[in-house]
């Protein structure tokens, strides 16, 4: 059965690009335009991996990650932060929130696939 | 009830050479108009009168959801009896992005004319003002008056449009500003 990935990003073009990349590699992809919608979708289905942007209106990425981690079903799910910078602060906050790792934007689609493969196969 | 849609035949030679025209009768005369301005032909029915309009504007009809005014050419040009029977013909025109209908005595044919077949019209007492006449042509036994229907329908005297679209005299119909 195909692995399911949830992409959360307020940019439609990024969502499309990520979705296309992952689908081409055989994953099932769902999209959400912001943290709240992402959280709702995550609760509604069981995802094998969550990719989330940081800066989004309403519920931002870190808040989403924290919220997800408090759900029993997502305690162990890989969650990747899509971030525009790799600063100490980002890493600190990300780790504190419970992220599994991070990927810096702009990223090469191939790198995205490598990371995802590494995390969920 | 007469109802038909015009099929447009486009031949390669038609471009730039032959003109396709629809011929209709009005009183004793035969008029020909550019087929491209003709949307369809219908019968005369269910016209809703509009108060205050000139007598030759019979009113409006519902044409698949659009409100279309109907002009009786026979009344406008004072051509004999204007009767309304199941055989009365209305030509629906598309002129200047508007749809209007004209009541005529009958529709004959679609003809093709080469530009040189249309001779300049002398001043002769046709019902329609020569300003709207492009020329005359011989079709079989009869003489056909080639008319610029768009110019006629948009003229001030037809009272269909707010302003004279071709802006000949530069004068505007009243009402637009004072609304």
């Amino acid at each position: 059965m195909a692995k399911k990935i949830l992409t959360v990003d307020d940019s439609a073009s990024i969502r499309q690009m990520v979705g296309f990349t992952l689908k081409s590699a055989g994953y099932e992809v769902s999209e959400a335009p912001d943290g709240q919608a992402g959280f709702a979708q995550a609760q509604g289905a069981r995802f094998d991996l969550v990719l989330t942007d940081q800066n989004m209106p309403g519920m931002d990425g870190l808040s989403l990650i924290r919220a997800l981690r408090k759900l029993p079903s997502y305690g162990a799910t890989p969650v990747l932060m899509l971030t525009t910078e790799s600063s100490e602060q980002m890493k600190t906050m990300g780790r504190a929130a419970g992220a599994t790792g991070w990927l810096v934007k702009p990223f090469d689609p191939q790198k995205l696939l490598d990371v995802v493969k590494r995390l969920i196969g | 009830m007469v109802q038909a849609t015009i099929e447009r035949t486009v031949s390669d030679e038609a471009v730039g050479t032959l003109r396709e025209l629809l011929v209709f009768t009005l009183g004793d005369e035969q008029y020909a108009i550019d087929i491209l301005k003709v949307q369809e032909i219908r019968g005369y029915e269910s016209v809703t009168r509009i108060a205050g309009a000139p007598a030759f504007i019979k009113g409006v009809v519902n044409l698949r959801g659009s409100i279309v005014p109907i002009v009786d050419m026979r009344l406008k040009f004072a051509l004999g009896e204007a009767s309304y029977t199941p055989f009365t013909v209305v030509i629906i025109l598309n002129v200047l992005e508007r749809t209007v209908g004209i009541v005529v005595d009958g529709v004959s044919d679609v003809i093709q004319l080469a530009p040189d077949a249309i001779r300049e019209a002398p001043e002769f007492g046709a019902a329609v003002d020569t300003a709207y006449i492009e020329g005359l042509s011989q079709v079989g036994d009869s003489m056909v008056i080639v008319m610029d229907i768009e110019r006629l329908m948009s003229s001030a005297e037809m009272s269909l449009m707010e302003i004279e679209r071709h802006a000949q005299s530069g004068q505007q119909q009243g009402g637009a500003v004072n609304g």
Partner: protein, 704 residues
């Protein structure tokens, strides 16, 4: 795998357009004295998104400029830099350049000149340079290498842990260099996050904290070295992270080597350390479901975006055409069906009837897709007004009313130019300079209002200013100059109409702002081409209102159908107060001029619609007819009709599309049987009877 990114470009371009527009309107709305935090965040996010997207899709010019902009915006939203008007100007300027870059990438405009970019960059950077970064990074302890072993720990403390966290932080700070990465004071949901460089290792730090905090309310992790080469990284030991023994040393990757938490005493599994699976789950099990908390934290949902989708306009037009074809087809069926015996073919005919209804509903539904809020046209004006007012040294406040009013999409684009010209005119010639206004006793700041509303089968868009008004004398003089036939006795309306003549500009000095008088006649022609009309109202020193009336392609109204003679007419329900059949005693004739009816002591003029609309064979006696009491703009009259037919919803069709405006009618509708019924323009009918109404009622009262 190589993916063709260009397939996403269009979406990115549209997205960026929206971000830029959003940025601009938020910037214009900002109150510089007390800028709204959420607005600042939204502006920052817009720039941030543009940067991210343009970098991803390779538009480096956009990315670089946005990066500079974003840095400034970040400082402003964090409060480390004050926001000034010149800064807003610079931001708007940057937005313009970004817009130009975007247009060039779309293929719509010339490539942006390097000088323009450099100019705006230096503008922005000048602000940045003038303002020293306020944030101090915690200085690394000197001679770190030679000192006692230092650990860099990340400490997360839940805000509701009940303890005096600032005190705890102060204490920790004594141990070494402490940075508050996330300050959660007053925040009910987010935790404090601290970074501590000190000799304390994880165990020692957690022991220290355990004295004052419940173990489940804090988490400590350790960073054994940041790596610079990262495009990607995994927190070792984080939930679902792969086997920590496997080291990643690839370029662009970064990993944190294992934490020292392995040595944590097993029974103390209540710390939320980044341990594999089991601990994380245990921690999760202890905490209450976070959903409500998460929900409370969310400030506002995404505006509208989730309930709408983007559709190419061509698809909508195609859909409309197909529906049109469908309607024609079903008409043909109706036709064919009409010659059939209704009894033999009852089912077929019923089906055709149903089909007719369905296709009409479908047609209306599809047409409504094309209806777009007029806000799309209005939105450019805050910027236009601001720029122009600045240029003209005038103070103007722009108000916009009824932006949600909808009209056909095709009009949106065609309305933009005429409206811009009218606005420019108002600013240029209408609203006076502040000194002039004050001298007249008006407030220095002028008011410009854009208003949109539906009226019958039309949409009306008004541009109103409280300026000098049109100068009647000047207009007449100019008209005479140009040899036009004018008289002093012309009505105001006629005089105002003159300004639509080609080449007519009464501006004393033609400013470059509103042109050489080629404007108004083009405006009028444009509106007439759309099937609309322009109306002017003006009063000296009071102001001017110019109204653009455009036909609505779709409007649905509640109406009452009435019969007059053999004809059916429609009255908009909103005007109707009541209907009655009067008794003879209540109807009075006044001097043979007209009739009034007594309704509960009030005398109302009776308007004989049959007379007004020349309807033959209508009832003459009010006592045999029905009187419908209507009210418009405070005046009441009684409309006389033969009969009431019924009340229902009608789709308003306009007459102007193929015909022209008719006095007394506000449109037409198509009845269930396919016939056209005319909709009465109650407001003008009442108005034209107003004077008569006043005269009549006074007399009637006297006579009564």
């Amino acid at each position: 795998m190589s993916i063709d990114m260009s397939q996403f470009h269009q979406v990115f371009f549209d997205e960026t357009d929206e971000h830029l527009a959003n940025m601009e309107s938020l910037l214009l709305e900002l109150d510089l004295a007390a800028p709204d935090e959420e607005s600042l965040n939204a502006i920052f996010r817009a720039a941030h998104s543009i940067k991210g997207g343009s970098a991803t899709f390779g538009f480096s010019d956009l990315a670089e400029l946005t990066h500079v902009l974003e840095n400034l915006l970040d400082r402003v939203r964090k409060g480390t830099m004050a926001l000034t008007s010149p800064m807003v100007d610079a931001f708007l300027h940057a937005k313009d350049v970004l817009g130009a870059m975007l247009a060039a990438h779309r293929g719509h405009g010339a490539a942006v000149v390097g000088d323009d970019v450099a100019t705006v960059r230096s503008e922005l950077e000048a602000f940045a340079a003038a303002d020293d970064p306020a944030r101090q990074t915690i200085p690394a302890t000197p001679v770190a290498a030679a000192a006692a072993e230092k650990h860099t720990l990340f400490i997360e403390i839940d805000a509701d842990s009940g303890a005096d966290i600032p005190a705890i932080i102060a204490d920790l700070g004594m141990q070494g260099a402490l940075e508050t990465v996330q300050d959660a004071a007053g925040d009910p949901v987010r935790p404090w996050v601290l970074r501590l460089d000190s000799p304390l290792d994880v165990t020692e730090a957690s022991e220290t904290l355990s004295f004052v905090l419940a173990p489940e309310s804090f988490r400590i992790t350790r960073d054994l070295g940041a790596d610079e080469s990262d495009g990607f990284g995994l927190f070792i030991g984080a939930p679902a992270a792969p086997d920590p023994d496997v080291a990643f040393e690839e370029d662009g990757f970064g990993l944190f080597t294992p934490l020292a938490t392995a040595s944590t005493p097993p029974e103390d599994d209540s710390f939320g350390l980044f341990e594999p699976l089991s601990t994380a789950e245990a921690v999760a099990a202890k905490t209450t479901p976070a959903a409500p908390a998460a929900a409370a934290h969310v400030e506002r949902g995404v505006g509208g975006g989730e309930n709408s989708i983007r559709v190419n306009i061509e698809k909508v037009d195609l859909l409309l055409n197909l529906v049109g074809e469908l309607v024609i087809t079903q008409s043909m069926l109706v036709q064919s069906g009409s010659v059939l015996d209704p009894v033999d073919h009852e089912r077929l005919l019923n089906g055709i009837n149903l089909l007719q209804r369905n296709s009409r509903e479908l047609q209306e539904a599809v047409m409504s897709i094309r209806m777009t809020p007029v806000a799309f046209v209005f939105n450019r004006f805050p910027r236009v007004v601001r720029d122009m007012a600045q240029k003209l040294d005038k103070q103007v406040e722009l108000k916009m009313v009824g932006e949600n009013t909808e009209l056909d999409k095709s009009f949106i684009e065609k309305l933009s130019d005429p409206l811009t010209h009218l606005v420019r005119n108002s600013l240029d010639h209408g609203i006076e300079a502040p000194e002039v206004r004050v001298a007249k006793g008006k407030p220095a700041q002028g008011q410009l209002t854009l208003r949109a509303f539906h009226q019958g089968g039309s949409i009306v868009i008004e541009v109103t200013d409280d300026g000098a008004g049109l100068n009647r004398e000047r207009i007449l003089a100019k008209a005479r100059e140009r040899g036009m036939a004018v008289t002093d006795t012309m009505s105001d309306d006629e005089v105002w109409g003159l300004i639509f003549e080609p080449g007519f500009s009464t501006a004393a000095a033609v400013t470059d702002v509103s042109g050489r008088g080629v404007g108004m006649d083009v405006v009028k022609r444009n509106i007439l081409t759309l099937g609309g009309r322009v109306e002017i109202d003006s009063l000296p020193d009071y102001g001017t209102t110019i109204g653009i009336h455009l036909p609505l392609t779709l409007a649905i109204m509640d109406g009452m159908s009435v019969r007059i003679g053999q004809e059916t007419y429609i009255l908009p329900l909103s005007f109707i107060l009541e209907s009655l059949q009067p008794v003879a005693g209540d109807v009075k004739s006044v001097n043979g001029r007209g009739r009034v009816v007594n309704v509960r002591g009030e005398y109302l003029p009776i308007v004989t619609l049959a007379q007004m609309f020349h309807v033959p064979d209508a009832k003459r006696a009010p006592t045999e007819a029905i009187l419908i009491i209507v009210e418009s703009a405070g005046t009441r009259v009684a409309l006389m009709v033969d009969d009431l037919i019924g009340q229902q919803q009608f789709v308003v069709k306009n007459l102007e599309n193929n015909y022209h405006k008719v006095d007394g009618l506000s449109g037409a509708t198509i009845l269930g049987d396919g016939h056209v019924a005319l909709i009465l323009d109650v407001s003008t009918i009442v108005r034209s009877n107003q004077k008569a109404a006043q005269g009549l009622t006074a007399l009637a009262v006297a006579e009564a």
